[in-house]
């Protein structure tokens, strides 16, 4: 189904090397074989056939007889013809062999063309040269010869039968030229074959052996881990085609190509190393287990949803590690299908500059168990998705300006620590899973139509501790969690502040335990969706409830726990839900006054949403605190600083000028 866009070009290093080796063997063989034979018969020699064998390096056979006979009619002795060429020929052969052997390692096609030139040209040159000399030998006859032939011009042939005087001559091409010609053709093939990496550094002890010839590498798997260098002029693709499992490929420079990683290699980028997909297809597809990619920038995938264009796509390959990579301007960042134990760490993923719903997912783990997402930075993506992927660790990541910081389903036993989900539409949506820990994450500034810091639905054994939910439309949304008879949901020590709604629950939420959380200045502290109450949950554990910024506390015994239960039943909240404009007065004396008045003179009975029997006097101090200053706030600070600096400087300047 999946349309392939980046199929690898001419493949298989063995083929390329085989070409070289066969061609050079052919050339060596050609050295030994005759390239051209001439058989001559004449009555005076009876049954004997005179045979002359010519190769680039020598003229052999019955050369003496032929030359003697020729002498009578003034034909020059063949043994002396083309002596200069014959001196050159060995060099030509050596050059041809060396050229052929070198060709597979040459990156540039014109270089390869140059290298194979001797092998290709030699047979052709031989034929023409032979023709030339034969022609001269037979037709520039010695006028002082013993006999004069009746014909003036003899049509010598390179191929075929002809007659000179009473001689019947048969000229044939010899095995040598065939073999040589084959070598030439093979050499031409090398022009189009995949070149091999130029520098393949062996480990020190094997270095010398490796240097001898590429033939060594023909034996697959015999080599120990090697290191391949891919310079700016080289194609990473070629190295990938050539590299054996365990090899290291070092990449330098910017490479405009899309690659497939078919074997378990390690790809290390040197500073500035870039793989650029040219806005087409998927930039890197990893099909082998335990591939390591690090210190590499991967950018410019295509933007086709139907083809799922991605920066990196891992298919059915466990144990892949992406470390310190930068995936930018790609539709999907990392698209991992059945990539168990995949690791993405210390990396950056930045999506295409499109409206959020047209972007792809920064990270998608699909049916990939045991993965680790550590210390990454995902920005301008659609979602980070973890589906059908158990035992995932998500730690110290930052996901910003995306749709779902985390979209998470059908995945058990996952850990989320120290992540920052900021400025997304939904910080994290976690559904249909059990045994989850969320500790010390920040879910902040989620805004949009269905914006929530953390949505938890149909989940069990979830432990949400010391997280921050700040400035979201809704901080934390619970739906049917816990759900199983023995399922647990514990929400402890979280800082839930300045959200429009701190905690929203569907009325089906029961048996959740919430304690030592700080509900600070949320426009609505706790909101029940539709009618119902949140009373079926435990709002205090072991005598410690939550801190409510709007609760009236009284702590005569000074144990930090109020003796007055805190009720969330605010008529003001009910009114604020119906008249959002009142939200303006949230946490103001006016709101408190409206509340007070409404409690004294109820027209409609306020209904308790929940009662915290042991509210805390102060917000728990051990609540995790990180700086999650809104970028805009930071920007504001920067602007303010700049303004002050500018004002100061200009004042100073103007004062100086005034004085001057």
């Amino acid at each position: 189904m999946n349309a392939e866009t980046s199929t690898p070009r001419g493949y298989d290093p063995i083929a390329s090397l085989a070409l070289a080796v066969v061609a050079s063997i052919a050339l060596a063989l050609a050295w030994l074989l005759p390239w051209w034979t001439m058989e001559a018969r004449a009555p005076q020699y009876g049954q004997r056939t005179l045979v002359v064998e010519v190769s680039p390096v020598k003229v052999g056979g019955d050369i003496f007889e032929v030359d003697t006979l020729g002498h009578y009619v003034g034909i020059r002795p063949m043994g002396e013809l083309a002596s200069f060429e014959r001196i050159l020929a060995p060099f030509g052969l050596v050059a041809a062999v060396l050229g052929v052997l070198a060709a597979p390692f040459l990156r540039r096609r014109w270089l390869r063309a140059l290298a194979i030139l001797p092998a290709v040209v030699m047979p052709i040159f031989f034929v023409f040269d032979l023709r030339y000399w034969m022609d001269r030998a037979t037709n520039e006859r010695d006028p002082d010869a013993s006999m004069n032939l009746t014909v003036t011009a003899i049509d010598t042939k390179i191929l075929g039968d002809y007659e000179i005087a009473q001689f019947k001559v048969t000229a044939k091409l010899g095995g040598g030229i065939f073999v040589g010609g084959i070598a030439g053709l093979l050499a031409v093939g090398m022009l189009f074959a995949t070149p091999l990496p130029l520098r393949r550094r062996r480990p020190a002890n094997a270095g010398a052996a490796a240097a001898i010839a590429g033939v060594f590498f023909l034996v697959p798997g015999s080599a120990e881990a090697a290191e391949l260098q891919v310079g700016p002029e080289d194609l990473l693709h070629d190295a990938l085609v050539w590299a054996q499992p365990g090899d290291v490929i070092r990449v330098r420079g910017v490479h405009h190509e899309r690659v497939v990683v078919p074997r378990s290699v390690r790809i290390y980028g040197e500073p500035g190393a870039v793989l650029d997909g040219g806005k087409e297809g998927t930039v890197m597809r990893i099909l082998a287990p335990d591939v390591v990619v690090q210190d590499l920038t991967i950018r410019n995938s295509g933007a086709n949803y139907n083809q799922e264009d991605a920066g990196v796509r891992i298919e059915a390959a466990p144990g892949v590690v992406l470390r310190r990579v930068r995936i930018e301007d790609t539709l999907f960042g990392l698209f991992a299908l059945q990539a168990d134990r995949c690791v993405l760490e210390d990396s950056t993923v930045i999506g295409l500059d499109l409206p959020v719903e047209r972007r792809g997912d920064g990270v998608r783990l699909w049916a990939s168990a045991g993965c680790r997402l550590l210390r990454n930075h995902v920005e301008r993506s659609r979602d980070v998705i973890i589906w059908y992927s158990a035992d995932t660790v998500v730690e110290a990541n930052v996901v910003r300006n995306s749709r779902y910081g985390l979209h998470y389903m059908y995945s058990d036993r996952n850990r989320f620590h120290h992540n920052v989900f900021e400025d997304n539409q939904v910080g994290a949506a976690i559904m249909y899973s059990r045994d989850l820990e969320l500790t010390e994450n920040a879910f902040s500034f989620s805004s949009g139509p269905s914006a929530v810091g953390l949505l938890l639905k149909d989940a069990d054994d979830v432990f949400i501790r010391r997280n921050r939910f700040v400035g979201n439309a809704t901080g934390l949304f619970l739906d049917n969690a816990p759900q199983a008879r023995d399922g647990r949901l514990e929400i402890q020590g979280n800082w839930i502040a300045r959200n429009d709604v701190g905690l929203a629950l569907q009325p089906n939420v029961r048996r959740a335990r919430l304690w030592e959380n700080a509900f600070v200045g949320n426009r609505g502290q706790v909101e029940v969706q539709g009618t119902g109450s949140a009373e079926g949950n435990e709002w205090a554990v072991e005598g410690r409830g939550n801190y409510w910024s709007d609760a009236i506390v009284y702590d005569p015994d000074g144990d930090g726990v109020s003796s007055l239960p805190a009720r969330q039943e605010s008529t003001y909240e009910i009114m604020a839900e119906r008249h959002p404009v009142l939200g303006f007065y949230a946490d103001t004396p006016a709101a408190e006054a409206i509340d007070l008045a409404a409690r004294w003179f109820p027209i409609f009975q306020p209904r308790p949403r929940l009662v915290d029997p042991h509210p805390l006097v102060k917000a728990p101090t051990d609540a995790w605190s990180v700086t999650t200053a809104h970028p805009a706030e930071r920007g504001g600070l920067l602007g303010l600083g700049a303004l002050l600096l500018a004002t100061g400087a200009s004042t100073y300047w103007s004062s100086r000028r005034a004085i001057g």
Partner: protein, 670 residues
């Protein structure tokens, strides 16, 4: 702190004074507008006693239908795997009636011994040699239309479990036929054309269509499994599908799901979702990914855009081959002739819904928190310009996604279905968020600057599936109300055992903000529904003639007139030509011999509204509902000698208990 306290006290004092001034006891009006000095009005008292919130008091007034008055609207909803159709009044959310289609119902005497329903159920068998089905999974009831508006004549229903189409007449609210669609083993969805001359459906599960003995192994899934889209010609007069005028189009095995027929600019087009273009087949024991995992691997599936009018021409031109008695247009022809184009859609889509005028097709991918809006014009332009990005493995061209897309509306998690009101708004249900989200449509419903904006959201309880608004799928939606059909009720009702009812919720959409008005527990699994004005209910209260055969919709040949009751014997067959009337059977004694075949033919000779009689026969698994004017037949073989009373099961009069009779089965002489 001190200052804040002072401020608080001061403001509180002021607000208190204000509250006193405004809520002075002598200014509260009671329900009659009179002022009760020093007291509380009865309405306030009720509100206080029942501890209602303002919203709840509003909802109560909004939904209450006083005794004897009718609801404004009627919802025709499915009973799911109960195999029934329900009629529910809106806004009262009272069940008006439940109509059995695929399974027996002893109250209505359906499949409970009467010969007519037995024949209809037998005609709906899955395949020869298999047992007669007594259940079906009825997902989508559809009210017949004339010129794209409900006409209140017929209800067509799907059967996801067996690939059948049931036809219910709205004249007497009884099932008239069940048609097993050849080559389709499932039918999630069936839709009418705008004049109800066609019923169009597509199979959900691919099948070994056209393979020898209808068998193929899953290893040959790609080559031998196929889906079909069925275009079934409906004969309005007969209330039946005419298979000779019907045809199918062979489809790739992609699990085609929900579908919709175009109108207006999209007239002649049929749109279908697909959810398994991965062609996953499951195989958990073979260590393959489970079905749902495999079928959600890709980012996109394909919206099928079918030019079914062109397909009809090709079929009529002889390009089809007959498979299992129906003409089937092969995929090769469909692909070569441009009958089907694909448009990428978000993976695992659910709803595909048509804007009332037919300008937009809205698709929701269950795992994509957006509604994707496709412009019909853009799709047509893309087809005309051949703006394709490739072909699928079966040769169908795939149009470019961006070229067909009009808008992406960010509505929320798990969007499923979209319905429409009369003021240019669309409403989408969200299974995961448990919400209904309202958004504006584009031109011509709203100016471009107000197009495709989410404007409101309401929480529902819980896990909503379909939602429905009055006449939403017609040319002229009505608005006013919306019903959320929620799959789970969890805590909405007191403990009722582990199997929970489902929860329908009525939502007021007449204002800018949606308001939740009422909960309604319902047994069975309602999927889709349609809502029509109550005035369209034009059912008979009594049959037009005494002696009516409801299956044939004409006077029965075996109807018995009063005074002509008799018992006839033909060999071993005894025929009872009887009548029922308050409060007696004639005859009230029937004597037969062991081994006789006994046919009871009862005619209710009453023409009084609601004077229905039952015929409950002990021991022989027979109960008939003999409605006023109806003739009903039951046939038994008197296999066991003994005394078998029969009696009226429908309380009919003061002497109802006396409305009895005897079937005496005399033992064979040895």
């Amino acid at each position: 702190m001190q200052r804040k306290l002072i401020a608080l006290i001061t403001t509180a004092a002021g607000a208190t004074a204000l509250a006193f001034a405004l809520s002075g006891a002598d200014t509260i009006p009671d329900d009659g507008g009179r002022v009760i000095a020093g007291g509380e009005s009865p309405i306030d008292q009720v509100i206080r006693e029942r501890s209602l919130s303002p919203d709840e008091a509003y909802a109560a007034l909004k939904t209450f239908v006083p005794p004897g008055r009718y609801d404004d609207l009627v919802m025709v909803t499915s009973g799911g795997h109960r195999g029934t159709v329900l009629l529910i009044g809106i806004p009262s959310m009272r069940i008006l009636k439940e109509i059995p289609v695929y399974g027996p119902d002893s109250w209505e005497g359906w499949g409970q011994g009467d010969t007519a329903s037995k024949e209809i159920l037998e005609n709906g068998s899955f395949a020869p040699g298999l047992p007669t089905l007594t259940w079906g999974d009825l997902h989508h009831p559809q009210i017949s239309m004339t010129n794209g508006k409900y006409d209140g004549e017929w209800i067509a229903v799907s059967d996801k479990a067996a690939g059948r189409v049931g036809i219910v007449s709205m004249r007497d609210m009884k099932t008239k036929s069940i048609f097993k669609v050849p080559n389709a083993n499932s039918d999630h969805h069936a839709v009418w054309s705008d004049n109800s001359d066609w019923i169009v459906q597509n199979s959900f599960f691919p099948d070994a269509v056209g393979q020898p003995k209808n068998y193929a192994d899953l290893a040959d899934y790609k080559d031998k499994f196929r889906g079909v889209a069925s275009f079934l010609r409906f004969d309005r007069k007969a209330g039946k599908i005419d298979v000779t005028q019907s045809f199918q189009i062979e489809l790739p095995p992609y699990f085609q799901d929900m579908s919709i027929l175009g109108r207006g600019p999209s007239d002649g087009l049929y749109f279908m979702n697909s959810l398994n273009t991965e062609m996953a087949t499951g195989g958990t024991l073979d260590k393959k990914p489970p079905m749902e995992v495999g079928a959600s691997a890709r980012e996109m599936d394909y919206l099928h855009v079918v030019n079914w009018k062109k397909a009809e021409q090709l079929v009529n031109a002889g390009k089809a081959k007959v498979i299992n008695g129906i003409r089937v247009l092969p995929m090769s022809v469909a692909a070569a002739e441009g009958v089907i184009y694909f448009v990428p859609e978000s993976k695992s889509p659910h709803g595909v819904d048509l804007a009332p005028g037919g300008e937009y097709v809205m698709v929701s991918g269950k795992l994509d928190p957006h509604v994707s809006v496709y412009s019909v014009q853009k799709i047509k332009d893309a087809i005309a310009a051949n703006n394709v990005e490739g072909k699928d493995g079966y040769g169908f061209p795939i149009l470019k996604y961006e070229a067909c897309l009009e808008a992406h509306v960010p509505t929320g998690l798990g969007p499923l279905h979209t319905v429409y009101d009369n003021s240019g708004n669309a409403y989408t249900s969200h299974f995961l968020d448990s919400t209904v989200v309202k958004f504006t449509m584009g031109p011509p419903y709203n100016p471009p600057e107000k197009a495709w904006k989410v404007v409101d959201k309401v929480a529902v309880h819980y896990n909503i599936g379909h939602l429905q608004a009055p006449a939403s799928n017609t040319k002229k939606p009505i608005g006013k109300y919306l019903v959320a059909l929620n799959k789970w009720s969890v805590d909405r009702y007191p403990p009722l055992g582990p199997l929970h009812p489902q929860n329908l919720q009525l939502i007021d959409i007449s204002g800018p903000k949606m308001k939740l008005l009422a909960d309604m527990p319902i047994n069975g699994e309602p999927h889709n529904s349609q809502i029509m004005p109550v005035e369209l209910l034009q059912a008979w209260n009594i049959y037009p003639e005494v002696g009516w055969d409801a299956a044939k919709m004409k006077r029965s040949d075996s109807a018995t007139q009063e005074g002509k009751e008799r018992i006839e014997r033909k060999g071993n067959t005894v025929i009872v030509h009887g009548t029922v009337k308050r409060s007696h059977y004639t005859p009230d004694i029937v004597r037969v011999k062991e081994g006789d075949k006994v046919v009871f033919s009862w005619t209710n000779v009453e023409t009084a509204r609601d004077a229905t009689h039952g015929f409950g026969l002990h021991g022989y698994n027979v109960n008939l509902s003999i409605d006023p004017g109806a003739t009903e037949e039951a046939e038994i073989t008197a296999v066991r000698p003994g005394v078998y009373p029969y009696y009226c099961t429908e309380f009919c009069s003061a002497l109802h208990m006396e409305m009895t009779g005897w079937l005496l089965v005399e033992p064979k002489k040895k």
